[in-house]
C-alpha cells in the first residue's frame, strides 16, 4: 500500500491527486472532495480558517490510512488537507483511493473522511460578517 499524506497552505489540486493514485493495476478510484459552503444553518459564511496541530495531524492521518489498508484491499491512498484561510468554494480536503475493485475504494474513502472528522487535530473557524466561531461538530 502506497500512501501520500499532506497538509498544505496553498490550493489543493484535484487533478494532481487523481493522477497520483491512478495506476494500470487499479480498476476503480473513489475521490472525496470537501468544499467550503457559503452558509451554515442559514447564516452567510465569509471565509474559513483551518488550524492544524501539524505533526500530530499527520501522524493521525497516517494511522487512518494504515487502518483502512488493513480493512480493505486498496492500492493507493492520498489525503491532502488545507490549512490557513479558505474562501467560499475552495477545497479543504481531498481524499483519493485506488483499488482493484470499486467497493474497497468506496469503503476506504468513506472510512477515511469519517474518521478524519473524528480524530485528526484540525480545527475550522467560520468567519461570519458579524463574528466568528470555532466549529465543534463532534463534541
Amino acid at each position: 500500500m502506497n500512501k501520500q499524506i499532506k497538509l498544505s497552505v496553498s490550493t489543493l489540486n484535484v487533478m494532481e491527486c487523481v493522477d497520483w493514485v491512478m495506476s494500470p493495476e487499479c480498476g476503480g478510484i473513489d475521490v472525496f472532495i470537501g468544499t467550503v459552503r457559503n452558509a451554515t444553518k442559514g447564516k452567510t459564511v465569509v471565509r474559513l480558517e483551518f488550524e492544524a496541530y501539524e505533526k500530530m495531524a499527520i501522524s493521525e492521518l497516517e494511522k487512518i490510512a494504515d487502518q483502512a489498508s488493513i480493512k480493505w484491499p486498496v492500492q493507493k491512498m492520498l489525503i491532502h488537507h488545507r490549512t490557513g484561510v479558505l474562501q467560499i468554494g475552495e477545497i479543504p480536503v481531498i481524499i483519493a483511493v485506488a483499488a482493484a475493485h470499486r467497493h474497497a475504494a468506496f469503503e476506504a474513502c468513506r472510512y477515511i473522511i469519517d474518521t478524519l472528522k473524528q480524530t485528526v487535530p484540525i480545527w475550522k473557524k467560520e468567519i461570519f460578517e458579524d463574528g466568528e466561531v470555532w466549529v465543534a461538530v463532534h463534541p
Binding site: P92, K117, V120, W123, H138
Partner: protein
C-alpha cells in the same frame, strides 16, 4: 516540575495564546493536569469535551506526564 502546554482552536482563545506553562508535581497524571487547568481556566469546562495529547498521541486520564513531554490541549476537532 514545569510543563509547557500547547493550545489549539478554541483552547487557544481560552488560554489567551498558543501555549502556557503550568507548575505540576512530579508523576502528575493527565487527570491532575486537566483538574489544574480547569481551575485556572474555568471556560475549559464549558467545552463539550476536550482531549489531552502527550507526544502527539491521545492520552488517557491515568497517563503520567513528564517534564519534557510535548503536551497539547485538543478541543473537539472539525477538520475535513
Amino acid at each position: 516540575m514545569k510543563v509547557n502546554i500547547l493550545a489549539f482552536g478554541i483552547a487557544k482563545d481560552i488560554f489567551g495564546g498558543p501555549a502556557i506553562d503550568v507548575e505540576l508535581f512530579n508523576d502528575a497524571t493527565v487527570f491532575n493536569l486537566k483538574f489544574l487547568l480547569e481551575k485556572q481556566y474555568p471556560q475549559l469546562k464549558k467545552l463539550a469535551t476536550y482531549m489531552v495529547a502527550v507526544n502527539n498521541e491521545y492520552a488517557l486520564d491515568g497517563d503520567t506526564v513528564h517534564e519534557r513531554d510535548e503536551i497539547a490541549i485538543i478541543p473537539p476537532v472539525s477538520g475535513g
